[in-house]
Subunit: 356 residues, 2 copies
Amino acid sequence: MTKKIVVLPGDGIGPEIVAEAVKILEKFREEGLNINLEYGLIGGAAYDETGTPLPAETLEMSKQADAILLGAVGGYKWESLDISVRPEKGLLGIRSELNLFANLRPAILYPQLADASTLKPEVVAGLDLMIVRELTGGIYFGQPRGIRTLDNGEKQGFNTLVYRESEINRIGKVAFDIAAKRQGRVCSVDKANVLESTELWRETMTTLSKSYPDIELSHMYVDNAAMQLVRAPKQFDVMVTTNMFGDILSDCASMLTGSIGMLPSASLDENSKGMYEPIHGSAPDIAGQNIANPLATILSAAMMLRYTLDEASMADRIEKAVSKVLDDGLRTADIYSAGMTKVSTSEMGDAVLAAL
Amino acid sequence: MTKKIVVLPGDGIGPEIVAEAVKILEKFREEGLNINLEYGLIGGAAYDETGTPLPAETLEMSKQADAILLGAVGGYKWESLDISVRPEKGLLGIRSELNLFANLRPAILYPQLADASTLKPEVVAGLDLMIVRELTGGIYFGQPRGIRTLDNGEKQGFNTLVYRESEINRIGKVAFDIAAKRQGRVCSVDKANVLESTELWRETMTTLSKSYPDIELSHMYVDNAAMQLVRAPKQFDVMVTTNMFGDILSDCASMLTGSIGMLPSASLDENSKGMYEPIHGSAPDIAGQNIANPLATILSAAMMLRYTLDEASMADRIEKAVSKVLDDGLRTADIYSAGMTKVSTSEMGDAVLAAL
Ligand SMILES: CC(C)[C@H](C(=O)O)[C@@H](O)C(=O)O
Ligand SMILES: CC(C)[C@H](C(=O)O)[C@@H](O)C(=O)O
């Protein structure tokens, strides 16, 4: 049966980097992969055309899709809009409406790019950490929320951080299952000494871990976790945390590798239907210049092939091709270092295509 | 008039490190500094003795004090207690009851300790960043909060993130005033693209900045800020942010210097009455071994002399003495490197005392 892939290029560098990943999917299609690509509007691009960052049509086609490939959303242009129609709201809407609660964010140091890290080589060499971020709950979606005017005339902004046991359990299971295929260690990150919501998080993880006797569960406060990521990131195997803490820690972790332009992510529902996107943002400052790094998006397509389309060998081919172009010394500007060959977005995409 | 200093050693390594700072204050007292030291219980130590982490007596004496010197609170021993009587609650209670809304957390790289950082020398050399963290509001104190049982029988944990304009303005002013004495740049950190509370934060900071024409205000999302701290921390002069984000970012920033054991902090009210404490925690794993680094606490005493007691020259003497013992190669275990002289907590304290 034909699998339906929805492509949402989004804003900023989104269209450029997605185009390179699509080239590769198209090549696999020519080779016989039974997929059908459909394009949709999201984010600022959607807002400009339709007045909403998540048009009903995009949501509908995404719901019917087997997988979604997303570029990035947001940019200066839309920053003064009301929060309810910002480009980001489109992304949050898809995550929530499609129940994509499990966000997998690897932080891997590519040996070819070891120099790109701002950390000392001995601290990050071989880094391979997986952050599992809860993506459809917590303070991102909690009600009530808003800005109200108090009796004395001043404004007050408020948000609600909320988690129930079932939400914590299902993301915990994802983390434990992933750890079982890795080094078997899960570090759950919370602020259980201050926030009751994450006290429940900690208790629930502890109870859940009893069903996973082979996995070692530890707990860490989020401030300490941010510190330990800088001090000794290789101590971690799998980290699991809330939506907000995961947002912060995964950006920090990915930068440890010096190459956030290299890192893909997957956001999955209960049935491994998923959305795939680079960890990095829409980078409006370099949009349209054909200099962005398409590899995170290309590697996101590889994750899609592996997790949703069950085409592990095609995923392997992409990952090996990426490794080969790096071995060949090809570098976009963000990962460039002396002695390497600087290439554009499309040259990088073509090189991966040729190396498949 | 005699100034009243309340000393709250707290838990873990707290008593050991505070003792070294007290030695120095006592020496200044002998030289004529008109202070009176009084001791109080806080945290786990207070809970064990009185059943509460913040006894009324401690709160009362702290309210009457001109300044407070705190060690650290918390430890494994109390982790299974209900959140309402945890050691941390004592610290949060003092902050809130004394209205210590402005938490100043410098991240400074000591040139003598340049090697201790896990970051490459060129990335952190000369790092001198001040994080201004809102300390008495936000999700730390927002109501409602707790754990409830839902109709279907499962538990739900909830917390409230809330800020009003006046709270944002007063912490903003502190940041702008500090920036005016530094490089004149404030970066306000929020998540205004997702959280309405921090949308108000951003708007309020922007409005406030109009009264500070000589200060350059920029805004950054918290995930990007965590990333930029690792990528290029020297881009920042002063960062100002919420209680929760400040907790995370300041721990991350202090670890950039490789020497969290060196960094003091001040928590001030509207009248520069304040509490002074090291940034690091109670480190229960090394408590009682006389190996902890007392310098962050000693430097906290220096901040107290400077900000609350108006004794800048004594503060200078402490800071110069710390610099001298580092020049002499003295190192506690946390900052030890080959070729240096490893010393204990009390040896380090004595060395600073002798170098005054
Ligand atoms: C764009 C923004 C809403 C989003 C988030 O905060 O989740 C982004 O930072 C991310 O991490 O995917
Ligand atoms: C001990 C804890 C309550 C405290 C906080 O979260 O504020 C600590 O981490 C700090 O940063 O001072």
